[in-house]
C-alpha cells in the first residue's frame, strides 16, 4: 500500500489518530441509511422476523393471497439507539408466489432494484448535486425466505435468486423453521447450499479479510442459510419475558441459539456486517449497474484508437453523431419528397395528354356528325322543297279539276262516308 513512499516515524504525538473518530462523528450527524428487501411467499414469516430483528412493532397489515401480480411495498422508519440515528427502509414483496402463473414474479423485484440504482445514478450525474443529503434508497441486503419444505429449493426460488445475485447481496433464510426437526434441518441446509452452488447463484459471503471479524464470519458462513423463527409475542420463561412461540408440546424461544439461528442472523446482519453490506452494495453492485448503464448509453472509456476518452468527449461525439444522423435523415426525406413530386407531375402530365387527345377526338367526331347531319338536313330540305312543289302542282290540278269534275268530290265524300 505504500507505493514507494517513504515511511516517516513520528517523534511525538501528532493527533491524527483521531481521524476515524472524526469520521464517525460526522456520520453520526448525517445518520445512516439501511434498506432491507424481504422476498418470500405470503405467510413465510417476513413481517414477524423484521419485528423481532429490530425489537419493535412495525405496522404491517397482513396481505391476502389473491393479488394478481407481485408488488413491492416500501416503508421507511427512523430508529434511534443511543446516539445513532438509523433510517431503516423495509421493502416487502406482496403477492410473491401466489399467482398460478409465476413467470413474471421476479421481474417487478428486479425492476425495483434497478430503479433505485437509476435514481442514485441520476443524482450522481447531475451538475449540481447533493450526494451528502441524498436519501440512499438502494437495497443493501435481500433476505430471501425459503419455505421449510425440508426437501430442496423451489424452481421459483432458483429463478428469482439467479436474476438477483448480481444486483444485490442475498442472504437466504429458512422461514418458520420450527416445523423442521434438527436432523432434517442439517440435511435441508446442505441440500440448499449445494443447489445454490450447482446453479451458480452467488449469495452474500460474510467478509473474512479483516482479522477482527474473520473468525466469526467464517463460522457463520458455514451456518448459511439461517433457520429462523420469529415471534411478536412474549412468553414468561423462568422470571423473564422472552420472545417465543408457545405450542402444546413446548416453547420455541426465538433468542435461544439451540432453537433457531435468529441470534446469529441479528449478529451478522446488524452488529458485524452492516457497514460491509452497504459498502458492497455501493462498490460492487452499484458500480456494475453504472458501468452497464453507461455502456448502454454508448459511452466508452477507450476511444477507437485505444486512447482514453473522457465522458465529455464521448458525450460531444455522441451528440455530433446524432446531429449528423438527423441531418442525413432530413436529406433523405427531402430527396424522397422531390422524387414523389416528380412522379406525380409525370402522371398528371400523362393524364393531361390523354384528356387532350380525347378532346380532339371528340371534336373530330363532333365535326363528322355535324357534317352528316347537315347533309341529311340538306336532303330533307330538298325533299321538302320537292314536296311543296308537288303539293303546289297537286293543288293547281285540283283547283282545275274541281271546276270540271264535282263528281270526283262526291265520290270522295262517299268514300269518306
Amino acid at each position: 500500500q505504500n507505493d514507494g513512499y517513504r515511511t516517516l516515524s513520528l517523534s511525538g504525538h501528532v493527533g491524527f489518530g483521531s481521524l476515524p473518530d472524526q469520521l464517525v462523528k460526522k456520520s453520526i450527524k448525517q445518520g445512516f441509511c439501511f434498506n432491507i428487501l424481504c422476498i418470500g411467499e405470503t405467510g413465510s414469516g417476513k413481517s414477524t422476523l423484521i419485528n423481532s430483528l429490530f425489537n419493535t412493532n412495525f405496522d404491517d397489515p397482513m396481505s391476502t393471497h389473491f393479488l394478481p401480480s407481485v408488488r413491492l411495498r416500501a416503508q421507511t422508519y427512523e430508529l434511534q439507539e443511543s446516539n445513532v440515528l438509523l433510517k431503516l427502509t423495509i421493502v416487502n414483496t406482496v403477492g410473491f408466489g401466489d399467482q398460478i402463473n409465476k413467470e413474471d414474479s421476479y421481474q417487478p423485484i428486479v425492476d425495483y432494484i434497478d430503479a433505485q440504482f437509476e435514481a442514485y445514478l441520476q443524482e450522481e450525474l447531475k451538475i449540481k448535486r447533493s450526494l451528502f443529503s441524498y436519501h440512499d434508497t438502494r437495497i443493501h441486503v435481500c433476505l430471501y425466505f425459503i419455505s421449510p419444505t425440508g426437501h430442496s429449493l423451489k424452481t421459483l426460488d432458483l429463478l428469482t435468486m439467479k436474476s438477483l445475485d448480481s444486483k444485490v447481496n442475498i442472504i437466504p433464510i429458512i422461514g418458520k423453521a420450527d416445523s423442521i426437526s434438527k436432523t432434517e434441518l442439517q440435511k435441508f441446509k446442505n441440500k440448499i447450499m449445494s443447489e445454490l452452488v450447482s446453479n451458480g447463484i452467488q449469495i452474500y459471503q460474510f467478509p473474512t479479510d479483516d482479522e477482527t471479524v474473520s473468525k466469526i464470519n467464517t463460522i457463520m458462513n458455514g451456518h448459511l442459510p439461517f433457520a429462523i423463527v420469529g415471534s411478536t409475542e412474549e412468553v414468561k420463561i423462568g422470571n423473564k419475558m422472552v420472545r417465543a412461540r408457545q405450542y402444546p408440546w413446548g416453547i420455541v424461544q426465538v433468542e435461544n441459539e439451540n432453537h433457531c439461528d435468529f441470534v446469529k442472523l441479528r449478529e451478522m446482519l446488524i452488529c458485524t456486517n452492516m457497514e460491509d453490506l452497504r459498502e458492497q452494495t455501493h462498490a460492487r453492485h452499484y458500480e456494475l449497474y453504472r458501468r452497464c448503464r453507461l455502456e448502454e448509453m454508448g459511452f466508452r472509456d477507450i476511444g477507437p484508437e485505444n486512447k482514453p476518452v473522457s465522458l465529455q468527449e464521448a458525450y460531444e461525439a455522441k451528440r455530433h453523431e446524432f446531429y449528423l444522423d438527423l441531418q442525413r435523415k432530413e436529406e433523405e426525406m427531402r430527396q424522397q419528397f422531390v422524387q414523389r413530386v416528380k412522379e406525380k407531375e409525370a402522371i398528371l402530365k400523362e393524364a393531361e395528354q390523354q384528356v387532350q387527345t380525347k378532346f380532339e377526338h371528340c371534336v373530330l367526331m363532333h365535326q363528322e356528325v355535324k357534317l352528316k347531319l347537315e347533309k341529311k338536313k340538306k336532303v330533307l330540305e330538298d325533299e321538302i322543297a320537292m314536296f311543296i312543289e308537288k303539293k303546289a302542282n297537286a293543288e293547281l290540278l285540283q283547283s282545275q279539276a274541281s271546276v270540271s269534275t264535282p263528281v270526283v268530290s262526291l265520290k270522295r265524300d262517299k268514300d269518306r262516308k
Binding site: 516517516l8 504525538h13 425489537n55 445513532v84 458485524t272 452492516m274 460491509d276 459498502e279 472509456d301
Partner: protein, 269 residues
Amino acid sequence: CQLFGYVGIEAVLDQMKIKTMKTGFEFNIMVVGQSGLGKSTMVNTLFKSKVSRKASQPGQEERIPKTVQLQSITHVIEEKGVKMKLTVTDTPGFGDQINNENCWDPIIKYINEQYERYLREEILITRKRKIPDTRVHGCVYFVPPTGHWLRPLDLEFMRRLSKIVNVVPVIAKADTLTLEERAEFKQRIQEDLKTHAISVYPQEDFDQDPDDRALNDRIREKIPFAVVGADQEHQVNGKRVLGRKTKWGIIEVENPAHCEFPLLRDLLI
C-alpha cells in the same frame, strides 16, 4: 419507532472505524508564503517528523527560483494504527520576485489540475474502488509579522484562493510580536478580511448546525493564529519541550501562553 430492547445498531460505528482504519487516509496540504517565513519548520513541527528538508542549510546558498514552482513530497505516517498518506506541497518562489504579479497563477492551476484529475477518475465507466485523492485539502498561508496590515499580495492571493480551497492564514515567526502587538495585528487582519469579503476556513456558509457554528465562531475569533515553529527540543522545568532557545528565554511551541501552535494543530488535524 420505539425500540423495545437492544438491537445493536450502534455497532455500525465500530464497523465503520475498523474499515476506515484499514483503508487509511489521505491528507494534502499546501504551504504558501515568502521564503524564510518558516514554512518547512512549521510542517515539521506539525507532523513531528522531518517531512520537508529545510530550504537553506547553513553554509549553502539556495537560488531563489525565477518563477513560482510547486514541489510535492509524499510520506506515509502512522499513529495508533491509523495510516495516513501525507502530501505537503511547497511553493518556493512565491512572493520573492520584484514583480509578483500573477504569482498565484501556477498555484491556482495546480489546485484545479488536482480537481480535474479527480473528476476524470470519477466519471470513468469502470472506476477504481478507491479514487486516489490528490486534491488540496487545506492551504496554510504565512503572513509576515509586519504588525501593520495585510499587504496587497496577501489580499490578492487569499481572495482568489479562498474560492477554490480552504485557506488557513497564520502569522509566521510570531515571536517578534508582543502580545499586545499580536492582538492589534490580528484585529486589523480580521477587519481586512471582512472588508474584502475573503472567507477563510472555517467558512461561515458551511456551518451545519448551531453547535458547529458555536465551535467555529470561537475559532474564527482567533484567526489568524500566531505561530512559532521549532524542531529542536530543550529542557524546561525538567521536561523536554519543543522550542526556540534565545538569549532572553525559551519560546515553547506547545505552550498556549507563548504561541498558538496547538490551536493550529487542533484545527488542521
